[in-house]
Amino acid sequence: MTQIKDNNIKNDFPIFKQAKVKKRPLVYLDSAATSQKPHSVINAVSDWYERFNANIHRGVYELSETATKKYELSRQVIANFINSPSSRQVVFTRGTTEGINLVAEAWARKNLRAGDAILLTTMEHHANLVPWQELAQRKRLKLKFLEFDNQGELILANLAKQLMGVKLVSLVYVSNVLGTINPVKKIINICHQKKIPVLIDAAQAAPHLPIDVKKLDCDWLVFSGHKMLGPTGIGVLYGKRERFEEMDVYQTGGDMIRNVTLTKSTYATYPQKFEAGTQALAEVVGLAEAVIYLQAIGMERVSSHDQKLVTYAYQQMKKIKAVEIYGPQTIKRSGSIAFNVQGIHAHDLATFLADRGICIRAGHHCAQPLHEKLGIPASARVSFYIYNDKRDVDLFISALQAIIKEWESIKARNT
């Protein structure tokens, strides 16, 4: 039996002291949707407005200079976090969704030709599917898909063959439904042998796993701040220099220019080139604070805590006969468990759990094609993070058992 050390991490998150659900403490098992925020992040954001707020890059007065410094320092913090060779390769976005749209607009639209193919997988979040559909339609590109097996793992046997005609691969690092940790390093290697660039959707990976873009050798990597203790509305696009140099502008306007005349403009180089307009300054600083918080714990420890909780929950859920779990064994899984209870629709289950103060998510989790492949309209999902502990899992499991029992007895009484 795995040991899950008790810790005081929950105390760092004010919401667990404030929020009560029907007079019960909050059992939050929906971190894959968005994470809670520690004191330090909340303080960094309010501190920004109370002590540092000024627009960056143009001011000559001290407040603006300090603001610019803090902003660029935050970029460096993020660069270190993912082991980016330089902070210039870190672009701030609104989140994973915008990061993918940026690459689609600024790189793929410019560099792909009619008939070229983009390879995705059938387990993508809509954020890594719809932008490519839209681009494919406009540019007459083909979309191809890597399938997954009944363990929820990508089938790579024919990858080399499937790469015929492919000019870009974009895939999810950790599935937000199945929890599968995909072998992205191996896939990137194979793609690079054929000189195909690879974009990694790390929305669910960055919160849970140590990320090293140099080791991965990915061409782009995107993630969202709000899933890793940071504020909403801020995310990151990492890119290789060569790729950034091949890219067109994305949005245009202030801050991303070098020189502007009435008829023509020249543009700044990256990262500013991709950061048009006033950025989400307080959120950038908040995200850097979130990274500092995670680094203080250590991503190895974050990941092993996660692994232990998922394993414990998985084992407990497996003991309940009516529960069907999707996705791989726990060793190849991170963060979340999607499941259904026989005879109880996922939405009903989520409602019954909500009545007991337990927050889970039910639906297609922005992955409709994935659910179609599994042959189910919806699933329930529990997901964990550093502030969750064994007690959260125990409360969830006992609520689940009680609900199933109650449901069975209502059915028995009514027949």
Partner: protein, 120 residues
């Protein structure tokens, strides 16, 4: 612990008017895209335009399916116009269950299907 109130469970476990009917006068189909719940209604009208027979089919959560059964009960003897003029508030009351805003969408799927309106 309560799951859902008796009326919902009763209609869910013993659905009324479920199934296809012969020679329907009119059909309605509805789906809640965000969660995959589906319902179809078929009705037969009498000479005065009143619903004399209704049959529904569907799949989804307890709330949407029980609501279809409850609505089917209410449809008998009314004109289609009369059914379409049932307000959301009135119908939610008829279900005798307290629902969060997200789950009210499940509950209103059958009514909106007959209203031939998008669930907002």
């Amino acid at each position: 612990m309560d799951l859902y109130q008796q009326k919902i469970m009763d209609h869910y476990l013993h659905p009324r008017h479920q199934g296809k009917i012969g020679k329907p006068t009119k059909k309605f189909t509805g789906e809640n895209i965000s969660c995959g719940d589906k319902v179809d209604f078929e009705v037969v009208l009498d000479s005065r335009g009143k619903i004399k027979q209704v049959g529904w089919q569907g799949s989804g959560c307890t709330i949407s399916q029980a609501a279809a059964s409850i609505l089917a009960d209410e449809m008998i003897g009314k004109t289609i116009k009369q059914v379409q003029s049932i307000s959301s508030d009135k119908f939610l009351q008829d279900l005798e269950v307290e629902l969060s805003p997200a789950r009210q969408k499940c509950a209103l799927l059958p009514l909106y299907t007959v209203k031939e309106e998008e669930l907002g």
